[in-house]
Symmetry: C2
Amino acid sequence: MTEQKQSPNSRPYRMQRRAEQVDETRQRIVDAAVHLHGTVGPSGTTIAGIAAAAGVTRLTVYRHFPDDLALYSACSAHWLSQQVVPDPARWEQYADPAERLRVGLADLYRFYRDGQAMLLGVYRDKALLPEAIREAIDNDDRAFREFLLAAFDVDGEKERRLRAVIGHATSFWTWRSLTQGLTDDEAVDAMTTLILAT
Amino acid sequence: MTEQKQSPNSRPYRMQRRAEQVDETRQRIVDAAVHLHGTVGPSGTTIAGIAAAAGVTRLTVYRHFPDDLALYSACSAHWLSQQVVPDPARWEQYADPAERLRVGLADLYRFYRDGQAMLLGVYRDKALLPEAIREAIDNDDRAFREFLLAAFDVDGEKERRLRAVIGHATSFWTWRSLTQGLTDDEAVDAMTTLILAT
DNA sequence: TATTCAATGAACAGCGCCGTTCCATCAAAT
DNA sequence: ATTTGATGGAACGGCGCTGTTCATTGAATA
């Protein structure tokens, strides 16, 4: 790198190694926040707690994330980036309703199991999350439901009932409840049976 | 309910009309607390809020209910006293598993619907409730599950699966989830089908 | 070497809740 | 008429959290 001597008055400042350290600090904050969300849950997570866990001052947290939404967005993006997210597009090849159901629910339940610590807190405290985050969650849930429903050729009353039951089957709480005593596979079987019998 | 005390010097003091007023105050507090639990939920209910709603001082609330458990117990007892509580004993005449299931779930779901405002908050904030209250809730839930299970003549693996599925069917959250799009009757049908297919 | 700037550390004011104290009030009971 | 006791009213100290200011540190940078 070539250097130039400058006069004391006004020189642009291009950070390089410095920028990395800043990002590291930011990352430590996000990691701490994600960890807390997954243990004490969003409702038990405080700025002070995050700062302490990140080995940083409250003020530093505020500077990186001016408001809750900024922090939650960063957390959610980072956490999702290290999950294998269920992907309806990959279920598309299964045209048979029953088969798509099995594959889709299995994919969903695997995701639920892998991320249960975080999801438990998130769904419990959903009402306390920033509006935008809540909407994102609802949208995803709706997408899974509608995608599974789309494999069926129904309308009217039957469609309404199917949508309700599929919505139930795809709910995190349903997975949670069923797997108190069932394996994931058994839960998939149970819900598939239920839906096909509707 | 209210006791008399003796002062060294004389005159026993038996309250009569007075005692009624005390009980009225106590009742106003309980009513206010129940109302708040059913609207903002236990987690949003504060002593200050109860006092304000009851038209009483915080101090008066503390005097009637020294700790949370005393208050919650009184609330729960009073609320339950004005509910038609599901009663497994009345399901006993139905020996046929399918029939007992329908009757039991219908009774349970009716109770859930009638008390949904309160139950929503209670189940959401269950972790914050006093230990004793939480145990009472868990015991009731377990009782319903086991009573429905008892109609089946099963054991081993099948019993485990049945217990899990019946537990799921009897959960408040399951009722809540299903009745987003189904009627109570349809929900009973769905869960009965699910259980009988297990 | 002099400059830049992320991060620190300390303090502030504010909020709402907690549980407790002391004293005054006033109707009911004797 | 006097005593009793439930309630009111006001204040206290404590807690933990919020979001903000200010001056300082110290390492990366030019």
